[in-house]
Structure formats: structure tokens, C-alpha cells
Amino acid sequence: MNERSKSLRISHAGLRGVVGNGLTAAHVLDFAAAFATFLQREGAVVVGRDPRASGVMIREGVTASLMASGRDVIDLGVVSTPVLQHSIRRLGAAGGISIGASHNAIEWNALKFFGPGGSYLSTAEAGELLDIYHLHKFDFAEWRGLGSLHRDEGAIDAYLADLASAFDFDDLRSYRVVVDCCNGTSAAILKRLNELHGFRFVLINAALDGTAFAHEPATDRRTVALQLAPLVEPLAADAGFLFDADSDRVAFASERGEPASEEMVLPMLADHLLTPKTGQLVITNLSTTALVDVVAGWHGGRVVRVPVGRQAAIDALAGYSADQVALAGEGTGAVMMPRFRFVYDGIASMLGLLSLMSARRCSLSRVLAGYPAYSVLKGTHRLSSQRVPALMMALRERFDDGAANMVDGLRVDWEDRWFHVRVSQTEPVIRVIAEQRGAPPNALFESLMDQVRSFM
């Protein structure tokens, strides 16, 4: 496939691309100007970035457009996206822009936009922002009304103080934890957690070097296995955690150095948080493990399945009151909790997992052993867009003995297994995922892939 075709993406999720090859200064300036025009509320705009070298260029462009639009800019420096969202609320700002490409490789960067209170933009809001961007009519201020730049150094400390009030730090600080920071923003946060709150986390890949990541900052089992997992046992740690560059996702390994599936974060946190007192709903997407349903069943909770992608989860959340929902998340290690105003937050998720271990008074591998085993198979195939509807119809007919959901591609559920075939939102591919309790669903998966190949 042509590399160039993947190097820039302008969507409801914001602006994302390979810097230089796809994402340019011009995009950044126009998008930030569009955001300033979009914002309804008076007030400053908070800006933070991950350590990528291109983030300085992007910050300068964002700052210029915001100031030109009459907005004061509060620069937090290198902070995670959840810290940025926290600061938007703390500072009573009109909104914020996060500069960072989370789990993407170092040559990428992105802009993500947040409204008052640090909330994600709804799909309708994001659509309006895109319309303004495309119209290219921006509300620049006249020369006397330009905004000014301010710095705020206390974002991480204030965020940690908030976490301290939500988790029992006295209890958690005794855990010995090793963390692979992927040279990302978690390094800055966890260093302060050690300094300010007496934790003893051992950090690796903690240098904020903007031109070289030790490895891709992906929160999956394969990346955990690279450098983190082999260190857990030798360091006699209770757990190993890994964060993407902007620390909104987490992955982990047990005290035995076994990398866990990224799919485990959501069901384990659901297990910890679902009580009759808290909300009863778990919002997740159609590609996430059936273990979530099992766990929700234990606590009398219910799972709401929405299309894949953050936007769908965010829109779904808006339809429920906060106390109806226990948590929301994806099988990628991105989870949001009501205690944290539904912000995807890897650090809070990690503290949640440690709290679960503490409540159960057992090791991480013992906690993991308490869940029924599921095996998942995932595949992709090059997309031929025109034939997608026919493919879905054919699959629906062929697997008509299961419960079908056609909200996002096709998902079919049986008693102990399910599959989901859909079009990726980030790459021109068809994604196939099949899961089964116990052994891998090899036959089902192969027949799905054969069918996909015959259509594409």
C-alpha cells in the first residue's frame, strides 16, 4: 500500500499524521484557528504535549493561532492527555488541545481537542469543528485583542493530589512496581508520584527523548513482552505496567513476568468497580472480549456494546447519567471511570488494578487465574470498499444461527463464542476478530477469513 495514503487523517477524532510527510504546520495552524472559532465559551485554552520533537513546532503553531484568535494560552509543557483534561477543569478553561500521537510511532503526531471540563468533543461537535476547518473562515481578533501565553507548572502535582483522594495511596505505595514508560509522559507523572507520594516505582525507558522511543509505545501483549515482562521477576516486582506516549492507555504483566492480554484491563476494572452501589452499566465496543459480559453478570451489571472507536463510546455515555455507568472502555487498555469524569486514563487504570490486587489480597497472577480463559484470533485483509455490503450480507446468511448485531459491520454471538467483522476506521482494511471460551476458534476464524478473501 502507498505509505503516503496513510500519512494524514483528518476526522472526528482530530488531526493525525506523519509529521512532514502528511501533517504540516499549515494543518496545525488552521485546525487550531478552527478550534478557537468553534469554542463557544470565554476563557483560556490549555495546551500540553507529549515528548515528540515535532511537538515543539506544533505547540508554536497552536499557540500562534489561539493567540491570534484572542484566546489566552496556558502551556502545561510535557504532560499526559489525562493530566491536560484534568487541568482544563482545574483552571476553568474554555477547552484544551493535546499534542501527541499516543500509541503511534515517533514520526507521528496529532492534535486532540477537548471542551470545557476536559470533556471529549461529541461527534456533532467534532463535525462542526471540521466544517469550520474546511470553510477556512476563522474569527481572528484585531491587534489589540490578541491573547497572551502563560505557563502552568503545577498540572501534574494537582492531578496526583486528585488521584490521592480517589485511591488509598497508603495501601498502594507498598507495591513494588516496574513501569515501561515508552519514553512518554507517564515518566514525568510517575517520577512525581515517587517524589511526592513516596511510591517506589522502578521506571524504564523514562528519558523524555523526542527523537527516539525505545520501542513503539503500543499497549499490547507483544510490546509488554519486549522489555518490560523480562524485568518483572528479576526485580521481584508485584507487577509491570506499560503506558502509551500520552498515558491514556495501559498494559501489564504479572509478577511472574507473564504479559497479560490488553483485553484484560477492562474486565478486571469492571470486576473491581461494579457494585450494586455504583452504576450497573459497562460501555464497550463490539470487538471487546466476552469476558466483560461474564464479569458484569457476576455483579448483576449489564454491558452496552457500541461501534468501535472512541467517538461512539463518548456519544453513548452522553445518553446515561453518570451514576448509571460503572465504567467505559475498549480492549486496547483504554478505560474511563466515573470517578475521573470519564477520561481515558492509563495511570488511574493502573491504580485501579493495584487496588483490585489489594482488595483481593492476592498476587496479580492469582487475580488473573480467577477469570475464565478466552482465546481470541485477529486478522486483517485489504479493503475493497464497494464489496463490503455484499460481504456482510453473505456472512449474515451463512451464520444465521447466532444473535446478529449490525451496528458496526457484523457481530454474531453464540453461547461460548462470537465474531466481529468490520471496516477499520484507521486503515483501509477489513478487521476480523473471533473469540471463544477455552481453545482458539480456529475453524470459525479460518472460514471467516476465507469468506473475506473471496469478496475482497
Partner: protein, 456 residues
């Protein structure tokens, strides 16, 4: 239609009214074109004290970084100080964010090459082609350089250079009482330090707060310097200096409260320089004949160039001039310090001349041959200049003609220069004669021709 150049991209770079016209996107694109032109390397970025300076500084930094340049941010600095610094530090070039003497709603980008000189017309043409083609260098993440701050070195380098050419002790011993109007511009702090601490003057300064808006018309003229003139008389100052917002232009007020013609200021400096180092002189076509008289006393030649600093500098370099400038707008160019208009060189030489001659400022000026000068302007109209030139030529048969920049007509009793402004939609004319009556006649004649409706 009123012809207002709210945005002008061309011979003098980019200049426009901030807000709707001079946008951050445009400034960033120009920065990126500049970075593409000078190549990946260090580029100096500074500004004057205009309110829109910080916003544009971020935008230009964004463009430079996107082109793979390292940005050396020097903050608020006079234009000549930036130029000295660019050359002394071996940077690839520099950008000064300043609209010089234009009103505060304007801003502009001044472009310097690696020699710290204004881009000549060939460099400008190539840069503007790059800008329009949008064929910018797009640095990838690992080619991204950062931003360095160096606000302290430039004034030190500049002042050190100026001091090599004057008798510092001689000036200090006199403890001159000096008035200063810094227009709250880029030179405000540096001029106070220079005059008070370095040259030991008793300083009476007004408008030297760079955080405030311009308190008077930005261009230092007889009409705009009422406050300085009052201050001079009240405090009994020996001499008074006034700068424009970016510290390249200098106006001088003598102890009687009289503001000297800029041509006479230049003549005094030319005289001071030639007394130390005889050599050729170069000035623009609108500069007074008093320069020819002073040069004749020292037995050296005067060369004339079109109006515009870059043009004068080119002529100076071609002719090996030791001193030059633009009498019409208060610019002294002394290449031994740097080939740019420099108010600091002007101040130092005038104080040195006062010290060595023992004369008062008015006494010094009184020794210059007296010329009567008049000037005027008219709205620019396409195709207007040619007929005006032809008409004037017909009215003054037998005069010496120079068509290098508009038309300069020299008669035995005085001269007329009519031309199109480089920066504003204006036709400008100047006349000069030893006799007030003749000057009045030449002015009336030109005024009448210029005022004739087009096509008559």
C-alpha cells in the same frame, strides 16, 4: 476605492494589518519558506514591542521548525542588534518581527541573510517564489530541532562593536545630559543602558517601557517629538535622541529644543566618520546635497542609490563606502559596525563629536551648509508616475535627470525627486534648494503636476 495596503507581500517581505490580513498561517508559511530558502540550521528570531509580536513570533517559529531550522529566540531587540547578532553567530539568517515606523496595528517580517543583511531583490524574489509554490522543506520528527533562547548576547555584541569606533572615555568624562524618547520600542532598555551605564550620560528618558503601547506616532519626526522637546528644555539637556520602534532610525533634538532634519543628522555623522576614516560615501537619491558638501570638504566621492536600506547597502558594498545612509528617514549606515541602519552608531558618533569639538549640538549643526527642504505625497495610482515624470521633465528643460528610482531632476538651483513608495500606496516627492524661495517654487511646481488629474 480607498487604496489601503492592509496586506503586502513583496519587496519588503510581508507587511500587513494583524488580524484578518496578516494571519498566523501566513506568517508561519513565510517562516517555512524562509527556512526552506536558508536551509536547515540556526535562524535568529526577534521582534519589536508591538502587541502582535509574541503571536507572530510563535507562528514564525512554527514555520521555521517545520522546515527543520533551529530557532534562536532573542526576544525584543532593535533591528540592527539582531543583524549584528546574526552575522556574529554564523546563523543561516534571521527574521525580525517589526513594522518599523508603521502604526501599531501593522506588523511585518524583516528578513536577514547569513551576513545579517536585508535580503537583496534576488534573494527576495527567490524566497517569494518558494512561498507561492508552497514547496517547503518538511522536516520529519528526527529532523526537528528545538528553540534556544539568547536574549542577553545581542545587545552586548552590538554595543561592543559600536564602542570600538568612538572615544568612550572622552564621552564619559563630559557626563552629557541626554534626553531620550524610546517610543516604548525595542531599543527602550538597551538605549537606557547604553547611554547611562556605558557612555556615562545623565539620562532623562521618556517612553522607555517596552510593555506599553507606542505613546506617539511611531516615526520620530519634528511633529511627533513634542514631549521630548519639552523634556529637553525642562531638564536642560545637551542633546536628545528619539528612536522608532525597532531602533534603526534616529532623530536628534538639539539643546534649544529644535529637532534637526534627518539629513543634517546624517551629515554630522558622515562628517565625524570621514574625519577619522576618509572614504567613499553612499546615500539614497532623496538624501540632501549637504552630504555632497561634507564629502567635498574631505575630498571623497558620494554615490547615490534608489531609496531603501537594501539598495543603499548594495551601493555601499559595491563602492566600498565607509559611511552612508538615508537622510530622508534618519538612517545612519556605518559598515564597520554593521551594514544596516543603526541608531546606536548615530548616537555614539554624535556624542563623540560633541565631546571632541567642545561645541553645543546646535553649534555643531549650525556649521552645516543650510538647505531648504520640502516634501509631499499624493495617492498612488497605476500609471500616474510616468506622465508626472514626463511633465516635470518638460517643465524643466536642460536639467540633469536620474531615472534610477522614479525621477530626480537637478537644476543649478535645486532638485526634485518624485517616486513611488516601496511600502505604502503613495507617490512621494522631495525638493531641496539653498534658497527658501526656490525651494517653495520647486515644491509648488511639483505639487501642481502631481495634483493634476490622470490623463490630462
Amino acid at each position: 476605492m480607498k487604496r489601503e495596503h492592509l496586506l503586502k507581500i513583496g519587496v519588503s517581505g510581508v507587511r500587513g494589518v494583524v488580524g484578518e490580513f496578516l494571519t498566523p498561517s501566513l506568517a508561519a508559511a513565510f517562516g517555512q519558506a524562509f527556512g526552506t530558502y536558508v536551509g536547515a540550521g540556526r535562524v535568529v528570531l526577534g521582534r519589536d514591542t508591538r502587541i502582535s509580536g509574541p503571536m507572530l513570533e510563535h507562528a514564525v517559529a512554527c514555520g521555521l521548525l517545520a522546515a527543520g531550522c533551529e530557532v534562536v529566540r532573542v526576544g525584543v531587540q532593535p533591528t540592527p542588534t539582531m543583524q549584528v547578532y546574526v552575522k556574529a553567530t554564523g546563523a543561516r539568517g534571521g527574521i525580525g518581527i517589526t513594522a518599523s515606523h508603521n502604526p501599531p496595528e501593522y506588523n511585518a517580517l524583516k528578513l536577514f541573510n547569513g551576513e545579517g543583511l536585508f535580503f537583496n531583490q534576488y534573494e527576495r524574489a527567490e524566497l517569494i517564489d518558494l512561498y507561492y509554490q508552497s514547496s517547503f522543506r518538511q522536516a520529519s520528527n528526527d529532523e526537528m530541532r528545538g528553540i534556544q533562547d539568547d536574549p542577553l548576547t545581542p545587545p552586548r555584541l552590538h554595543i561592543d562593536r559600536v564602542l570600538k569606533h568612538v572615544g568612550v572615555e572622552r564621552i564619559r568624562e563630559r557626563r552629557f545630559r541626554v534626553g531620550l524618547d524610546g517610543v516604548n520600542g525595542a531599543g527602550s532598555e538597551m538605549s537606557c543602558r547604553f547611554l547611562r551605564d556605558v557612555l556615562g550620560c545623565e539620562l532623562h528618558a521618556i517612553h522607555v517601557d517596552p510593555t506599553q503601547v507606542f505613546p506617539r506616532e511611531a516615526e520620530p519626526t519634528r511633529e511627533s517629538l513634542g514631549a521630548l522637546r519639552g523634556l529637553m528644555l525642562e531638564r536642560g539637556c545637551d542633546i536628545g535622541f528619539a528612536q522608532d520602534p525597532d531602533g534603526d532610525r534616529l532623530a536628534v533634538c538639539v539643546e534649544t529644543g529644535e529637532v534637526l532634519d534627518n539629513d543634517d543628522v546624517l551629515a554630522l555623522v558622515v562628517d565625524a566618520v570621514l574625519a577619522r576614516t576618509p572614504g567613499p560615501v553612499a546615500v539614497n537619491l532623496t538624501t540632501s546635497s549637504v552630504i555632497d558638501d561634507v564629502a567635498a570638504l574631505h575630498g571623497v566621492k558620494v554615490f547615490r542609490s534608489p531609496v531603501g536600506e537594501a539598495n543603499v547597502v548594495q551601493a555601499m558594498q559595491a563602492q566600498g563606502a565607509v559611511i552612508g545612509g538615508e537622510g530622508s528617514n534618519g538612517g545612519v549606515i556605518f559598515p564597520a559596525v554593521h551594514a544596516c541602519r543603526d541608531s546606536y552608531t548615530g548616537m555614539a558618533f554624535l556624542l563623540d563629536r560633541l565631546a571632541s569639538s567642545g561645541l553645543t549640538a546646535s553649534g555643531l549643526a549650525g556649521r552645516l551648509p543650510r538647505y531648504e527642504r520640502r516634501s509631499g505625497k499624493a495617492a498612488f495610482g497605476h500609471g500616474r508616475l510616468g506622465p508626472i515624470m514626463q511633465r516635470l521633465e518638460g517643465l524643466l528643460p536642460g536639467a540633469k535627470l536620474d531615472r534610477t528610482d522614479g525621477l530626480k531632476i537637478e537644476t543649478p538651483h535645486g532638485w526634485i525627486h518624485v517616486r513611488a513608495s516601496n511600502t505604502e500606496p503613495l507617490l512621494r516627492f522631495s525638493v531641496e534648494s539653498r534658497s527658501a524661495r526656490r525651494a517653495g517654487e520647486l515644491h509648488a511646481l511639483t505639487q501642481a503636476v502631481v495634483a493634476e488629474p490622470a490623463g490630462s
